[in-house]
Amino acid sequence: MFTRTITQAAAVRSRGGSIITRGLGTTRGRTAAFHVQDNDDFQDRVLNSDTPVVVDFHAQWCGPCKLLGPRLETIIGGKGEKVHLAKVDIDNVSDLALDYGVSAVPSVLAVKDGKVVDKFVGLQEESRIEAFVNRLIGE
């Protein structure tokens, strides 16, 4: 079942979709988005974070991920320091993705105080992403 989901997802092509880079700054010049390097990094910057974090599980081979990435970037970038964006390449940090039950990508989790409080799977409209982020930061 999951295979089909991913396959369909991967079939949606995205060319020229940008991939967020580490250290992408917000208007305040603080790091709001970062790439998760490993489990320790995830523990440190996501689970132990005082700021709520949106975690974007993505893959290089996933077309929809390349469309969702910039949308998340824009919306979260616009929230200033209220929320961070953690990007997890599931092929680099596979066990972490599996631990969080990522069977299809993109899979997006909302983490607050070390707990997953919300999630969605698949490409979403900007308005729905906005609502998702707002719920996380209580706006």
Binding site: T7, A10, L98
Partner: protein, 672 residues
Amino acid sequence: MRSVVVVVVGGVRLGLLPRCSTTSQYSRHIHTSRASVWASKSYFRRPTSVYGTVGVCGSNIKVVGSLESAGGSFVSMAPITTDNINPGEVVDKSIAQNKVMIFSKSSCPFCLKIKDLFKSLNVEYVALELDQINNGAEIQNALLEKSGQRTVPNVYINGEHIGGADKTISLHTQGELLPLINKSSHSYDYDMVVIGGGSGGLAASKESANLGMKVAVCDFVTPTPKGTTWGLGGTCVNVGCIPKKLMHQSAILGGELKDSREYGWDTPETVTHDWGRMVEAIQNHIGSLNWGYRVALREKKVDYLNAYATFTDPHTIKTVDRRGKEKIITSDKFLVATGGRPRYPDIPGAKDHTITSDDIFSLPHAPGKTLLVGASYISLECAGFLAGLGYDTTVMVRSILLRGFDQQIAEKIGTYMEQHGVKFIRGAVPTNIEKIEEGTPGKLRVTAKTTDGEEVVGEYNTVVVAIGRDPCTSGIGLENAGVDLAKNGKVVVEKGEQSSVPHIYAIGDVMEGGLELTPVAIQAGRLLARRLYRKDSLQTDYVNVPTTVFTPLEYGCCGLSEEAAIDKYGEDDIEVYHSSYQPLEFTVAHRPENDCYAKLVCVKSENEKVVGFHILGPNAGEITQGFSIGLKLGATKADFDNLIGIHPTAAEIFTTLNITKRSGKDVSAQGC
């Protein structure tokens, strides 16, 4: 399906909890007499000739016999009688002496359901039918005292109280029932370690885990000389069937774009193909498949080790991961499913300058003018799609095409490819390959020698060698485990894919005498796991396995080639029915009339049993898959004749084959 289905009707009412309540109002009366009987007699011996004795679940008795004869699995019933025996002792002994003990009532639908569950899992159990023995009520009281549960079914596994129907079924749903039953009796880290995460290894590991085993899969892809590597899933998914078929499809589409003009589409005369875009799309799909396998292993609780495994002794492997981290792992059983890798010719420049099927499907740049070395199906398939995509393509062949396949059809494939832009250099082998220009692609000079001793020199952008594959059996310490290898390096196996070391098995491309086909490895892996862990007896059938070569005109076959049939039965006993045909779609497209071909190889003395099925034409894979079941079931030529065709299809040609090769009559297509 075995005939063990017990349909539960009548007794089930909506709202009824899935268990049976006791109807007995007897007080807790525990018999104490005749206790010594237990010590002197084995009451738990499986009844063999005492069917019908009170205390044995009658409705299942016949089933017991049929199960035993059907597949070596069984359901046993005991004890024979419990009269005048201390009920507490009955309970204790029943639990202690039976791996799976069900206290049951023959009329209870939930008991039936649980017994059916164990039967479906091929798990041996003992059921004591409390309503068919005189002291059932007392035993039920004893059960209440012991387990706190009065209701039936009351299930014990390995001496441990499980509970009733609900609990047992929910354990099964969560995949925890079989692990409870199949508790290992060894002290190794794993029950099964699979070396090689390809089609066969993954299938075996998942099935073993399904059956409650603790399983690990070691998979490590040694990069090609060009540095190509890939994810979990093995050859087929990453560098074989999957990308091959997709590139074949890409080439087919090019041909159909040309046809489309005849069908009214204003398709431009010149359409271009973007190699990079095709590769990216295919690799994206493969990436999703790789991830799917990771997820599946995690779901089945199979440990995945992305590390290179080497045997250090018959029960121990050492694994080394990408970072050089070592680990020692022990296992009760091992499965060697390491597959094969392309062989390079032993000539100067081969490893430095050529690529193989391991590289071509992820080649980042267009290959340009390409030489394929070898006449294997891999070589011809690659040549086919490269030519179809518009690349200048040459195949260098030492002797015959498609060794092992029907040679008449092999030659037809060669002829068709030649007519469609593929150049063939026959009777030649390369002797030297040198780089004469850097670039993506660069330029290579290939020197070859013909069988006449002539030297042939050619320049190509890409050289793909596809001269054969070697099994991955060296460098994994099989000698430390004592596993015997055949001359060709494959693992020698007895029936049941068992190597010379009884607890080490081999399937797939490393198994001597097998077939190098993904579905064969999958079947072998799955059935092996079921034989090992579910007492199944079904062996993988390596006969009449259908397959298809995805050359521009696909070639599907099942059973024997004409040559093999003649070898086996003698020329006089073989009748070959054949015909050329033109798929309807070719007519409007003005494609040739006689390129496609169908033939049935029949044995005269066996009522014209069909022992070889061959088709050369579009969608041959789809056609062959269905017909192959006919061969497995022993279909005769008359069966094919009696079959009514689907019109208009290509496959219907098999229902009307009436020209024998022996007659020498013309088989050119006759039209509709």
